[in-house]
Subunit: 324 residues, 2 copies
C-alpha cells in the first residue's frame, strides 16, 4: 500500500465547542461554528505497512511521546475497523505553526490524519463521513474537513459532523493571531472538555448556544461584521467563564492576552471593525475584514507581550497532496 | 444641632453582591458575606444647619461633583424623612485609601454617613436599622455597619440588612491588597448592578448563591481556610464572568491583576494558605492567615505591575467619634 499525504488547516471557532455529551465518541454538548485558517496547516503522511510491529508516529520531525502515539493508534484502529486493513502504519505529521498554545493544532492534525489514513487504507469517504471520522480524533477536527466557514452540529454519532455554511471566498475576513506564548498549555483540551460539566455556568452556556449559533450563521451569510463581533466575543467569554469556574479552574489567559483584548475593545469603540476570540490557550485571535488586516496586525505587533503576529485568510477544505 | 463624626471600614466580600431585585431600594438579588478591613476607613462628619441653602459635600478635602452631592443629598432625604429634620446638611468625608479602584469605598463612606447623619438628626437606630439605612446609599455599605465578618441577607426592605456572623477577633485573617491602579473605574458599581441581568450567566450565579453562602458561613465559623479559599475564589470568578458577559461587557481586570491571580494560585498549589478575590476594579485582595501576611505581602510587592500593598486585619463595626 502506498504512502498518502494530506493537508488540512486549523480553524478558529466563533461559537465554541466546550464539553461533550459523550467523551469517548466526542459528541459535543453544543454545536459550533468556525473559519478555516489558510496559510496555517498540518501536513500528514500515512503508510500502512505489513512490516511494522506497531504504529509509528513522527511529529514535527521528532519521535512522538507514548501518549501521542497511543492517541493516534486508537484513531488508526477506527480506520482499520472501517477498511479491513490490519497492518500497522507509519505516520509523519508536521505543523507550520506553534502547537499547543490555543491555535487548535489538533483540529488540523486529525483532519489531515483522517483524510490521509482513510485514503491510505483504500476508503473513499464523502465529506460528512470524513468529518465524522476526524471528530473521533479531536472534536474540532470535524470542522477542518469542509472548506471555509463550517458548522459542526451536535447530535448522535451519525449526525454529528461539520458542513460548510459558506465557502472561503464568500467573505474576506482575516485572522490576525497575536502570539503571546508558544509553550504547551498545562491542561489540554481533551482533559478540559471533561471538566466542563463541573462549572456552575456550563448549563447556562449550553442553553443559549442555539440562539448564538443562529445569530452567528446569519451574520456569516449576510456578511454582518458587527453582529459576528458581538456574538463571537460573547461566546468566547462564556467559554472562558466556564473554564475558570470549573473545578479545578482552568485559566488560559496570560496578562498579555488581557492587554490585547482591551486594545481590541478600544479599537472597536473607536470605530475599527475588529473582535477577538481565544481558544484553550493564551493567544488572541483578532478577526477583521481583510481590508483592515494590515492595520490590525501592525497594531497588535506594537502591544507589550505580543511575540509576533500570524495572519490567515479563510482556508479551504482538507485535501490530498497525492493519490493512493 | 451639633456636628457628628463617624468612621467605618470598607469590607471585602467573599460571597459577592452583584445585581439587584430592586435598584431603587438596593435590594440585592443574592445574599453576601464579607470581612471589614481594619486600618482602612472613611471618616464622615455631618452637621444639619438651618443656615444652609442646600446640602454641601466635601470629599477628601475637595468640593464633590454635582452627581456625588446629588447621591448624598438623596440619602440625607431618607434621614430627614425618618427624623423630621428639615434643614440641609454640611457633609465632609475622607478616605485613607484610594477610592474607586475596587476597594469598596462606597461601603465605608455610606456606612459612616448613615451613622453620622442619623445621629446628627437625633435618631438612635439599632444596628439592623442602621445597616438597612446604609444599604440605601450603597448596597455593600450595609455590611460595613456590623463588626468583623458580616452577612447581608437578601429579602424585602425590612428584612435586608447585615449582621455579624463572627467578631473580628474570631479569626485572624489578613487582607493584603495588591494595588494595581488608583484610577477611578470606568463603570461604577451602581451602573454595573443594573447590567447584571443582561448576562446569560447571572441566573446560574444566583441559583448557586445559597449553597455558597452556607459553605462560606460554615468555613468562617469553623475557621476552615481551605474551604473559604475554594468558595470565595469561585464566587469571585462567577461575578466577573457575569460582568464580562453582560451587555455591554464590564472588564475590570488589568494584565497585572491576572499576574497576581496566577501567582496566588501558584503559591497555594505550593502549599501556602492564600486566595484572591476582586471587586469591581483591578486591585487584587489576597486573603491569608495573619501569620502568613508578611510573606504574602512581600511576595505581592515583588510582582510586576503591583504599585504597593495595603494590609488589613478584620475590622470592627461603624462607630461614632463624638456624641451629638
Amino acid at each position: 500500500m502506498s504512502k498518502v499525504v494530506a493537508v488540512a488547516h486549523p480553524n478558529i471557532a466563533f461559537i465554541k465547542y466546550w464539553g461533550n455529551q459523550d467523551d469517548a465518541l466526542r459528541l459535543p454538548s453544543n454545536g459550533s461554528i468556525s473559519m478555516n485558517l489558510d496559510g496555517l496547516h498540518s501536513q500528514t503522511a500515512v503508510e500502512f505497512s505489513a512490516g511494522l510491529a506497531g504504529d509509528e508516529l513522527q511529529l514535527d520531525g521528532g519521535v512522538a511521546t507514548p501518549e501521542q502515539t497511543q492517541r493516534v493508534s486508537a484513531f488508526l484502529d477506527l480506520v482499520r475497523e472501517m477498511s479491513g486493513v490490519t497492518s500497522a502504519a507509519r505516520v509523519e505529521s508536521q505543523n507550520n505553526f506553534p502547537s499547543g498554545a490555543g491555535i487548535a493544532s489538533s483540529s488540523s492534525a486529525f483532519a489531515a490524519l483522517a483524510l490521509a489514513a482513510s485514503a491510505a487504507a483504500g476508503l473513499e469517504l464523502d465529506e460528512a463521513a470524513l468529518s465524522r471520522l476526524a471528530r473521533r480524533g479531536s472534536g474540532s477536527a470535524s470542522r477542518s474537513v469542509p472548506g471555509g466557514y463550517a458548522e459542526w452540529r451536535s447530535g448522535d454519532d451519525a449526525g454529528s459532523f461539520a458542513h460548510s455554511i459558506a465557502a472561503a471566498e464568500h467573505w474576506e475576513l482575516a485572522d490576525c493571531v497575536a502570539i503571546i506564548s508558544e509553550e504547551h498549555k498545562a491542561t489540554g483540551s481533551t482533559a478540559g472538555h471533561a471538566l466542563a460539566g463541573t462549572s456552575p455556568l456550563q448549563a447556562a452556556r449550553l442553553a443559549g448556544a442555539p440562539g448564538r449559533l443562529d445569530a452567528c450563521r446569519a451574520a456569516i451569510e449576510r456578511r454582518d461584521f458587527a453582529t459576528l463581533a458581538e456574538v463571537a466575543e460573547l461566546d468566547c467569554h462564556l467559554m472562558h467563564a466556564v473554564m475558570m469556574t470549573s473545578q479545578p479552574g482552568l485559566h488560559y489567559w496570560l496578562p498579555a492576552s488581557l492587554e490585547v483584548m482591551a486594545a481590541v475593545r478600544g479599537w472597536r469603540a473607536a470605530g475599527m471593525a475588529a473582535f477577538y476570540t481565544l481558544d484553550a490557550g493564551p493567544n488572541v485571535h483578532v478577526l477583521c475584514p481583510e481590508s483592515a488586516a494590515a492595520e490590525v496586525a501592525a497594531g497588535l505587533a506594537e502591544l507589550p507581550g505580543v511575540l509576533r503576529v500570524l495572519r490567515a485568510a479563510p482556508g479551504g477544505p482538507a485535501r490530498l497532496l497525492s493519490d493512493p
